[in-house]
């Protein structure tokens, strides 16, 4: 009895904070998305009107929304596989018996993960500089003409994807490395005795055993990449030709540049629905693999 009452004093403060500053706002965001909350309502609540699904319909008719959705999908569909591939490659290398100085390499490869996005985006903006950037300088050595990375709408998203891969691959690398280390060694030894090649071992032992970890990594990365914001905010400000405006960037602009808080809330919910759908899709894909 005493324990039960005490338990509530342990959990109550945290629950109050999470409830008041996260769960209630989430519900409020849905309510807000059904209103025309704007600068006038901000000044005087009597200017607030309920528009029901008006914001959603309106947004679906806004070309910039579809543009931002396309950009975000580009970032997710190209960025996630590339990130996971680099993470997996790095994890396999670090797990190899042949690798030396493993602690140093692990720390070096992970370092970008803990850096501040804004600060390293500033570095990469400079690396991508058309005239003085080191990337074009290096490409010139191979006879490739300078690319206007952040000024050409065809190259701006690839540039941001490259930066995101650099920044994030270390995170998944650590998760995949731990999963690799959990694979029983005798599986490999048995395969070795049976004369399986490196590629065969990778395909028939490593990848199937990594499946749960890969699914987890995919879910984390997909939902993280759908929330693209700081990178374009610092590197391109959504330009050139709005080629790097992400859904979240669009929401930020609607909400905090134009103060259309009702519309911005609706965008936030559309993004949420998208992330949820992607997560459920991945989970289903993962479950189907287990059954097979």
């Amino acid at each position: 009895m005493n324990e039960r009452r005490a338990a509530w004093t342990f959990v109550a403060p945290a629950l109050v904070v999470i409830g008041a500053f996260f769960l209630v706002p989430v519900v409020a965001a849905f309510a807000l998305s059904l209103t025309d909350f704007d600068l006038y309502a901000l000044a005087d609540l009597r200017n607030l009107r309920v528009v029901w699904l008006g914001n959603y319909i309106d947004i679906l008719r806004t070309p910039l929304f579809w543009k931002s959705l396309g950009n975000t999908f580009y970032f997710v569909l190209a960025g996630v596989p590339l990130s996971i591939a680099v993470s997996l490659g790095a994890a396999l290398l670090l797990d190899s018996k042949l690798a030396r100085f493993k602690d140093f390499f692990r720390t070096a490869l992970f370092a970008p993960v803990v850096t501040t996005v804004v600060a390293v985006a500033v570095i990469w903006r400079y690396l991508f500089h058309t005239r003085y950037g080191l990337i074009n300088f290096a490409l010139a050595k191979f006879g490739i003409a300078p690319i206007d990375w952040l000024g050409d709408p065809h190259w701006s998203m690839p540039a941001i994807i490259l930066f995101a891969v650099w920044k994030n691959f270390g995170y998944n690398m650590i998760i995949l490395l731990a999963a690799l280390q959990g694979i029983p060694r005798d599986l490999y030894e048995a395969a070795h005795i049976d004369g399986a090649s490196l590629v065969q071992r990778l395909r028939h032992i490593t990848l199937p055993m990594l499946r749960p970890a890969l699914l987890l990594v995919a879910i984390i990365t997909v939902s993280g990449y759908f929330q693209l914001f700081a990178e374009p905010y610092v590197m391109t400000q959504g330009n050139p030709l709005q080629s790097t405006v992400s859904v979240l960037y669009f929401m930020y602009d609607e909400g905090f540049t134009w103060w259309s808080l009702g519309r911005a809330s609706a965008i936030a919910f559309l993004l949420f629905a998208l992330i949820l759908a992607a997560t459920l899709l991945l989970l289903r894909w993962g479950r189907r693999g287990e059954a097979a």
Partner: protein
């Protein structure tokens, strides 16, 4: 080792060197350029090291751009969030793991479900709440909503479950109150996860960008990343100055990570693989 094995070893290590160079080069170059004279980095071919190292950019950064103030803001905000969230998450995480109360597991599952909701969904109403509380352009605007996190509670709960019940029962029979048991018996056992949670929270708060950008629009209150993003928009051509700004923003978290790396990586695994 036979010849093909040796070649394979060279291949593995060469690839690791390439990846390490890819990871570290931008950071090393940032440091190098931050010591160059203004304009020096905008020459061809791009110089790798400063001709003569100068602290001019750092002087400009602190004297003219007010970076000192922003770093102090970041330090205060990140420290406050870390301290508050340690207390709240440790207490709640322990209770969810070890204390018995009605609806405990259902409540915890509800919290975990909330993890799928991206933080940005709450941001707009949260801004209105903060405005109503007078916490816009105030450290409180960033600190208060971050004082407890589902992730933190989850992390502590995972770890606290390993505490043997007999230990707690023995203390109860001796007549110790629940908070006293928590402070004298549980906390010392939770020490590793305390360090993990502290460094996780500090780094995340320091690096956070979108919410501080929204709630701290007034320059005086801005954290280092928010101020740096503003500077980057103003000083598009001043690469040497911007690199110095990046160095002072990244250095504290990088140093902290290097010092407490083991705890950080353990937390990462505890929070994801077992989740």
């Amino acid at each position: 080792m036979n010849a093909s094995g040796r070649w394979r070893a060279i291949g593995v290590n060469a690839l690791l060197v390439v990846l390490a160079a890819f990871s570290l080069f931008p950071l090393l170059w940032m440091a190098s350029v931050s010591f160059m004279h203004p304009g020096e980095a905008s020459t061809l071919p791009p110089p790798f090291l400063p001709k003569s190292a100068t602290l001019a950019n750092y002087r400009e950064l602190f004297e003219r751009a007010g970076m000192g103030r922003y770093l102090v803001n970041s330090l205060l905000v990140a420290t406050a969030i870390t301290l508050f969230s340690l207390v709240l998450n440790l207490a709640a995480g322990y209770a969810f793991a070890k204390l018995h109360f009605a609806g405990r597991d259902r409540l915890f599952r509800t919290l975990l479900t909330a993890l799928v909701i991206p933080a940005q969904v709450a941001m707009i109403p949260l801004f209105l709440v903060m405005k109503w509380l007078g916490l816009v352009n105030n450290y409180g605007g960033v600190v208060v909503p971050a004082m407890a996190t589902v992730f933190g509670i989850f992390l502590v709960r995972q770890y606290a479950r390993t505490i043997p019940d007999e230990l707690l029962e023995a203390a109860r029979i001796d007549g110790a109150g629940e908070w006293r048991i928590f402070a004298t018996i549980v906390l010392p056992l939770l020490k590793p996860i305390v360090v993990t949670l502290a460094i996780f929270t500090f780094l995340a708060s320091w690096n956070d960008f979108m919410w501080p950008l929204i709630v701290l629009s007034d320059q005086v209150w801005q954290t280092a990343p928010v101020a740096l993003a503003g500077l980057a928009r103003e000083h598009v051509q001043d690469n040497e100055l911007m690199m110095a700004g990046s160095v002072v923003t990244v250095l504290p978290v990088l140093a902290l990570f290097l010092a407490l790396q083991r705890y950080y990586l353990e937390g990462l695994l505890l929070g994801s693989v077992k989740g």
